[in-house]
């Protein structure tokens, strides 16, 4: 398990990380979302040891992470980096060798990965001759070629088409299912919602919300869609704590104060005629993210 405890990092006057904590369990894909400059990349660099935190600790399997353990992390940095003029296969072999894989095993692992990612026919091509999406796959392959214990991926879906996103999520899911913790950051909240087991929202270097997607959306305001063709304006006035959010024909979106019982609303609606729909509205992660960013919902 990977644990980040109370990380703080300053760059001069800017506080990039402020008492940031979260953990990623084996077999879990943890999605890390936040606006530009929120501290996602800084956090990942601290985990990798490319940057040093001012205070706080990174714990791997119960003890502070060592250089040797960090060498077992598969990493895709935010700014992609590979040698443009090197062949795909030579590149992967090099990264495997850097992680201590012997020559023959490095070659075999590289071939196997390229086949798995559908790039076997491009093995001998120079990296720069590949399309953006394929270069991205090679980048993923470079992170996987030495069978890492943990994956840290900064914006792995950036610039990928939906088919490529599916291919990449399949690979990530397989890695997680093999018992590896996977941390990824992304702006594409719909993908995060679909792919990640748990999500953390970071803002100004602070974790403002984290949990499973279901847990996070629970935290949104309590809202119900009620479809009552027989209703008239203000029909819900009698129930305490109810306000109208939106009306769409005979469908009404009502927001309930925490203490207002949704059963009371339902009973009131039934007195007006048949109720065609009565459904809790869960905000999408995108909505939640916007709320968090604008400071509407804070903390767990």
């Amino acid at each position: 398990m990977l644990e980040l405890n109370h990380l703080t990092k300053r760059f001069g006057p800017l506080e990039a990380l402020h008492d940031l904590s979260f953990e990623v369990r084996p077999g879990e894909i943890f999605g890390f979302v936040g606006a530009n400059g929120a501290g996602k990349t800084t956090t990942m660099r601290v985990v990798l040891g490319v940057l040093e935190a001012d205070s706080g600790s990174v714990i791997w399997d119960g003890s502070p992470i060592t250089f040797a353990a960090r060498r077992r992390i598969g990493y895709i940095p935010e700014d992609r980096g590979l040698y443009p003029k090197m062949s795909v296969i030579a590149q992967l072999e090099y990264f495997a060798r850097l992680h201590g894989v012997v020559r023959k095993a490095a070659h075999e692992a590289s071939i196997a990965l390229l086949e798995r990612l559908g790039l076997a026919d491009r093995a001998k091509s120079q990296l720069q001759s590949l399309s953006h999406g394929n270069q991205q796959r090679v980048q993923l392959a470079a992170a996987l070629v030495f069978s890492p214990d943990l994956l840290v991926l900064d914006e792995p879906f950036a610039g990928l088409d939906p088919v490529a996103v599916d291919a990449m999520t399949d690979v990530l899911r397989a890695e997680a299912d093999a018992g590896k913790p996977v941390v990824l950051s992304s702006h594409q909240l719909d993908i995060v919602e679909r792919v990640c087991d748990r999500v953390g929202i970071i803002n100004h270097g602070q974790m403002v919300a984290s949990g499973t997607v279901a847990e996070l959306t629970e935290r949104g305001p309590l809202r119900f869609w009620v479809d009552v063709p027989g209703a008239v304006a203000g029909w819900y006035d009698g129930v305490p704590g109810v306000t109208l959010v939106e009306q769409d024909g005979s469908r009404w979106l009502l927001q309930l104060a925490d203490d207002a019982g949704e059963q009371a609303v339902l009973q009131k609606a039934l007195t007006l005629g048949p109720v065609h729909e009565f459904r809790r509205e869960r905000p999408a992660l995108t909505q939640l993210f916007r709320d968090v960013m604008s400071g509407k919902a804070v903390d767990e």
């Binding site: 760059f11 001069g12 800017l14 940095p77 980096g81 590979l82 090099y94 850097l98 201590g100």
Partner: protein, 401 residues
């Protein structure tokens, strides 16, 4: 995985990717052709004095062939004597180029036939021998034994050289300058390649993945080692071709190019290259674009240029001077100045040992300083990193992006 193994993996990649490039093949081939061509030109067009002369002697002239050969040998010229019985046959051989000259007649009537250009040494020797012949006849006629007169004349003016220069020493200094020059050029070229290589990894952003895997100093040393091996291969190839050609054409005698000069050349190349490559690597890490490599490498290159100018203006004219000794002990100058002193034979072993120790100590210090600059700079993109930031002596005001 230990550091050595990691550095080897990094160095192997550098070496293999660079040695296979067209640039390497072309520059090596062009240099070999240029140097080979120059040597062949020297040997066969401009300089015939080192090869032996084929001289035919016909008729009466055959009696002076032995003294001519002996005296020419005193001037360092080899003469192969070919006796002829017929002047016509000799003339034909001169015309065909088989003979360089045909000598006929005796005494004041001695004649030399050449194709077009007369060899000055041969002309002087022949004059001398012919006059001697006439003088001997004259002395004998007046009942003076020529051997007595020869005995009286067997002296030479004694010369006191206040600052003696001997030919062998000049050749040694030239060889020293050649070694120093090759080191200087190689360090400048390959040092800049190191700087460019650092910037390449920085602008590709690959450095971030690498630094998540290896320590900055391992990456730096691996790169420097790999590029250094390419440089070594190229220098050995070029120097090998030059030496083989030069000795085959007898332009340089290998004994003057002592084995000590060759060994010290290799040692100074390794030490000098390491020292300057570290500086170039640190300089390169401070910028992000290839366009900036020249400006950031300039201070380092200027140090090398300064060393070369000192080698030309101070060390070469007088390798034994105190000024040369002082410069040869300054670590950044040693790799260029010391080879000149060593080749001139004026560097005592203990002085060479001390300067080697000083350079090694400098390399150790530079590994620490350059490693620090590299570590603090290599992840920063954008503008040029300030030296104080790179050294980590001032709190950095900019976020790493």
């Amino acid at each position: 995985m230990n550091s050595q193994a990691l550095i080897r993996v990094i160095a192997t990649r550098e070496f293999m990717t660079r040695i296979r490039t067209r640039v390497f093949a072309i520059t090596t081939a062009l240099t070999v052709i240029a140097i080979g061509g120059y040597i062949l030109l020297q040997a066969y067009v401009f300089n015939t004095s080192t090869s032996s002369l084929e001289v035919g002697f016909v008729g009466a002239a055959q009696s002076i062939s032995a003294p001519v050969r002996a005296e020419a040998a005193g001037f360092g010229e080899t003469i192969n004597v070919h006796p002829y019985t017929s002047a016509a046959a000799g003339k034909a051989d001169v015309q065909s180029g088989t003979l360089d000259a045909l000598v006929s007649g005796s005494g004041a009537g001695t004649t030399m036939m050449v194709q077009s250009k007369v060899d000055l040494t041969l002309e002087t020797v022949l004059n001398d021998v012919a006059r001697g012949q006439v003088l001997d006849q004259y002395l004998t006629k007046h009942s003076l034994p020529p051997s007595d007169v020869d005995g009286q004349l067997a002296f030479s003016v004694s010369v006191n050289e206040l600052s003696p220069v001997n030919a062998a020493r000049v050749e040694q200094i030239v060889i020293g300058l050649l070694v120093a020059g090759v080191l200087y050029v190689t360090m400048v070229i390959y040092g800049q390649l190191v700087a460019a290589g650092v910037i390449e990894e920085k602008s590709n952003r690959i450095v971030e993945i690498l630094l998540a895997t290896v320590r900055p100093w391992q990456l730096m040393l691996g790169k420097i080692t790999g590029i250094g091996l390419v440089a070594l291969v190229q220098v050995v190839l070029i120097a090998g071709v030059a030496l083989v050609l030069a000795s085959a054409t007898k332009l340089v005698s290998i004994p003057t190019l002592g084995i000590d000069v060759v060994i010290s050349g290799v040692v100074w190349f390794v030490l000098g290259y390491l020292m300057y490559a570290l500086l170039y690597a640190a300089a390169g890490s401070m910028v992000s674009r290839q366009e900036d490599v020249a400006s950031v490498a300039l201070p380092v290159t200027l140090m090398l240029v300064a060393a070369w100018i000192i080698a030309l203006t101070v060390a070469a004219p007088d390798p034994g001077s105190p000024a040369t000794s002082v410069f040869s002990f300054i670590p950044l100058f040693s790799p260029v100045i010391m080879p000149v002193r060593i080749a001139a034979g004026v560097a005592p072993f203990w002085q060479v040992a001390i300067s080697v120790v000083l350079v090694i100590a400098t390399i150790y210090i530079l590994v620490a300083i350059a490693g620090r600059i590299y570590r603090n700079s290599v992840l920063r993109v954008g503008g040029r990193v300030k030296l104080s930031d790179a050294l980590g002596i001032a709190p950095s005001g900019k976020p790493v992006v």
